[in-house]
Symmetry: C2
Subunit: 314 residues, 2 copies
Amino acid sequence: MTTLSDVAKKANVSKMTVSRVINHPQQVTPELRKIVEKAMEQLNYHPNSVASALAHNRTNVVKLVILEDIDTTEPYYMNLLFGIAKGLSKKHYAIQLATDRNVGGGDGYIITGGRATDAEWLDQLDKPFVLFGENRYGYDFIDTDNKLGEQLATQYALNKNYQSIIFIGIDEKEPFEYSREAGYINTLQKHNMIPKIFRIQNHSSLAEKLIISNWKKFAPNTCFICASDRIAIGVVRAIQRKNGNIPRDFGVIGFDGVFLDQVSNPKLTTVKQNLFKLGELLAAMILQKIKQDGAQQGEVLIEPELIKNESTRN
Amino acid sequence: MTTLSDVAKKANVSKMTVSRVINHPQQVTPELRKIVEKAMEQLNYHPNSVASALAHNRTNVVKLVILEDIDTTEPYYMNLLFGIAKGLSKKHYAIQLATDRNVGGGDGYIITGGRATDAEWLDQLDKPFVLFGENRYGYDFIDTDNKLGEQLATQYALNKNYQSIIFIGIDEKEPFEYSREAGYINTLQKHNMIPKIFRIQNHSSLAEKLIISNWKKFAPNTCFICASDRIAIGVVRAIQRKNGNIPRDFGVIGFDGVFLDQVSNPKLTTVKQNLFKLGELLAAMILQKIKQDGAQQGEVLIEPELIKNESTRN
DNA sequence: TCTTTTTTTGATACCGGTAACATATAAAAT
DNA sequence: ATTTTATATGTTACCGGTATCAAAAAAAGA
């Protein structure tokens, strides 16, 4: 491997000048800069990030803290992770995973699955962190625009002329769920319709049971807006069990758009989260925050996309 | 952070002695060792792995190279990844993900999704690597015991008195598939039954179509041994579509046992891969190989477990 | 008892960068 | 032309470990 010194020797300058060309190019004369750059090119020089990390008292590692149960872990984490990994490796950072709150090591944390009850724990963390998932305590976060997502879904159901539009939510008192419900409620009220919300835990079998045991309440021409694809899959199964016709008499719209929507039959219309991008942004944000020594980064909402598929009309 | 020097000062020894206590304890007198250990304890010393990495010309990063398409990426990767991450972090290693063959950086690679055509590429890699997934070229690998898995599945179908046992495989000329088929074939032949194999790409909708278009060939009292849960889910749907009774007249057994088996209704009987453990072993193996400067590690097969569920009798 | 050999510990240089300060050179002000 | 100020580059020390070799101490042999 070629080192700074090799380049310095070749370019007849000191190590520092080479270092500056890399990290603070504007501090170096254009002519010198060009010479150094040529030397780096010729020697195929790549900085040793470990050495740099040592000099900066860094580890070049970001911890991804996943607070929910591994078994519950949705397949979509994979996409998030790919995004994070890509974003981090641009800056030569690597990932370590943590599944509990005993973190330590690493230059910063990306935290997912945090609940309202985690505030106390978050406050005592000694490294910068960003959250995946909305929160209302002022912590930096990135999330899908949940409200917008369900607005899109609800509006689409209306456009497709479903008469009755019912929301099947996840039974958790968390901002992401409130936002999804808000998106649904807002859109209905804009059309002077009365919201109707059920809530269950996020499992397909529970959704299936719910729909079946309330079946008589659902006249044909109903669309179910579901807070997750898992729930949507259960709803689909229940309708099929009851010999309801999808999409003619019953529409189903899911949320997430990773993997499950494809495994279903009919394939789900769903609000697709762009988790890869979200991951990249999380990575960028935590790196920025590390560089800026913990400075506040604010909140970012990513637009989701409505994927139109076989579980709704047309 | 306390450093080697801090400990050395407190214990009245040189840095090297402290370093030896950590890395080559047998080179240090028991008495001195105890003194140093007490000092480390009192100061709550933890070695700085970045400094160590620099001194060893290492990065403390292992690359996870995922060669299949991200979109095809099975949810079970998550479990694998957790295992890998846990195994690596024990030795203060972190992960970077790579999704193509342009790898570089990192002390070694864990490679998944490698196909027979990748041999040439593997041969020119300049860092130690281990594979997740069987191969027959002598590369070090770890995999589920695919053959055993399908033996268990087939034997179980026989025990449950299904008359006809049919294998729905994945249409790829790869060792893992051959092994799964071999497990099925062996077991049948042991009972003087004639194997019947279909092969399709690994998608639930294709499995569904396959079963439906061949429906008249399948008498009641048939069990389908599927090479993946995806396929199994499609088979289940097809049988339900045709109003076949699961599990009384038709049994279905999947393979993988991650996520999908739970989302199905009826829940799948499946051959569960212990991917977390597999990941941990992959991590241990690559770290060992790095330490031993690329020495051959051999192959390891992990026993899978048959999860008995609602898609087979009883 | 005095070498010789072995074992234990220490001093030094180095891994490959970077911050902080020192020096040389050029531009501006007097 | 001389002093002041700004800009560009170099020198040095350090980040926190480890390998290597030298020195000291202990054990073994003569």
